[in-house]
């Protein structure tokens, strides 16, 4: 839904890092996408290609590593993967849980080159 705005910010960040590193172009970018980030990978790929046009990331490959959602139960300490957004601990049924992984979209790697 808002993947275009996210892709635009991603391109902005890439441009900043490429410039600061003294490079000229990004050829490959790796992000980590949490399962519960609310961002759809397909839509992000599509929007990334659009947002990258005419920037230093134009034509670059976007690699999306999926990060599973993990909830931690404060009652029994179990760490499990939630199913369909259920926040109840599947081990003990408890509701004192916290989402400890899977919410974020992180920029992890940029492969930079200089054009000769």
């Amino acid at each position: 839904m808002h993947e275009l705005a996210i892709a635009e910010h991603l391109i902005e960040l890439i441009g900043k890092h490429v410039r600061e590193s003294g490079g000229q172009r990004a050829v490959r970018v790796t992000v980590q996408l949490g399962e519960m980030s609310g961002v759809m990978a397909d839509a992000l790929l599509f929007c990334y290609e659009l947002a990258a046009k005419s920037t230093c990331a134009d034509g670059s490959e976007l690699v999306i590593d999926s990060v599973p959602a993990v909830i931690e139960c404060r009652s029994c300490q179990a760490r499990t993967c939630p199913v369909e957004f259920s926040m109840l601990c599947p081990e003990c049924g408890g509701s004192d849980t916290e989402l400890v992984q899977g919410r974020d979209l992180l920029l992890r790697e940029i492969e930079v080159i200089n054009d000769v």
Binding site: M1, H2, A5, I6, E8, H9, L10, L13, H17, E20, S21, G22, G23, V31, G38, E84, F85, S86, M87, L88, S95, D96, T97, D104, L105, L106, L107, R108, E109, I110, E111, V112, I113, N114
Partner: protein, 255 residues
């Protein structure tokens, strides 16, 4: 124009820091390596998240409780607001930001209660965003407001993904809808502080099971609170008003 650096459109609030890039202090390398991989760990936010953070700061600075009301179309958001604002008149200075695709109809209803209101028309967009809210705030005297209601576009899907900078999201669910809405549309129920059941005067006439619905909601958000109201009969309104007063008193403590 942004007061900090002069960039941007008039009235647009930004949330950016101004700092000198560390690279200016570095000496230029003699030979720039051909290919290299930059290793980072940087959160990617949308522009909306940045602007929402700006709105959040504005609310905090003014001690305003800002509530984002989200529900399907027709759940009773505007009617609830009309009754709420009338009940709080003279007690808590309120304001409303209304979001609809078209018309000023909801803003006119709110204006009739005497409360300052700004209508945002999204035309085709299905949700409000932080940029629109930032502009709407420019039309309100924030020094005279303690409680701001943002009535989002009727939609259980998209508003959940667009932070407006509010203090809390309130999701409304009328008893004429399905009791399993919380698991079918989990994100908004997961993110909301309170689930407000509306039109409870109709319970005798519909198959809606309140307890089942609460169980569904607790699955996706074990910490969600429940309020049950009928704006038209007044039942449950005292509990809703009490919650508002209490929530307002808690923001001073930074909650």
């Amino acid at each position: 124009m942004c007061n900090t650096c002069g960039c941007g459109q008039p009235g647009e609030r930004h949330n950016h820091k101004h700092r000198v890039s560390a690279t200016r202090a570095r000496k230029q390398p003699l030979a720039i390596p051909a290919n290299r991989t930059l290793n980072l760990q940087q959160a990617v936010l949308s522009k909306n998240d940045q602007l929402a953070a700006g709105n959040r700061q504005v609310f905090a600075r003014h001690g305003i409780l800002a509530l984002n009301l989200i529900s399907s179309p027709g759940s009773g958001k505007t009617t609830l607001l009309e009754h709420t604002l009338t009940a709080l008149r003279g007690e808590i200075p309120c304001a409303v930001i209304e979001g609809d695709q078209q018309t000023r109809r909801d803003a006119d209803r709110i204006a009739a209660t005497g409360v300052p209101v700004v209508q945002i028309n999204t035309n085709t967009a299905c949700h409000l965003d932080a940029h629109q809210v930032a502009h709407a705030l420019d039309e309100l005297d924030l020094t005279r407001i303690r409680l701001l209601f943002i009535e989002n576009v009727g939609n259980l899907v998209c508003p959940a993904s667009f932070d407006l900078g509010e203090t809390a999201k309130i999701v409304l669910l009328s008893v004429t809808e399905g009791e399993d809405k919380p698991v079918k549309y989990p994100l908004i129920f997961h993110l909301s502080e309170q689930l407000l059941f509306t039109k409870i005067d109709l319970l005798p006439y519909v198959p809606f099971n309140l307890d089942s619905s609460k169980q569904f909601a607790l699955q996706v958000n074990p910490r969600i609170g429940f309020i049950e109201t009928s704006a038209t009969t007044g039942r449950g309104m005292d509990a809703w008003l009490a919650w508002l007063r209490n929530r307002l008193s808690r923001i001073r403590g930074g909650e």
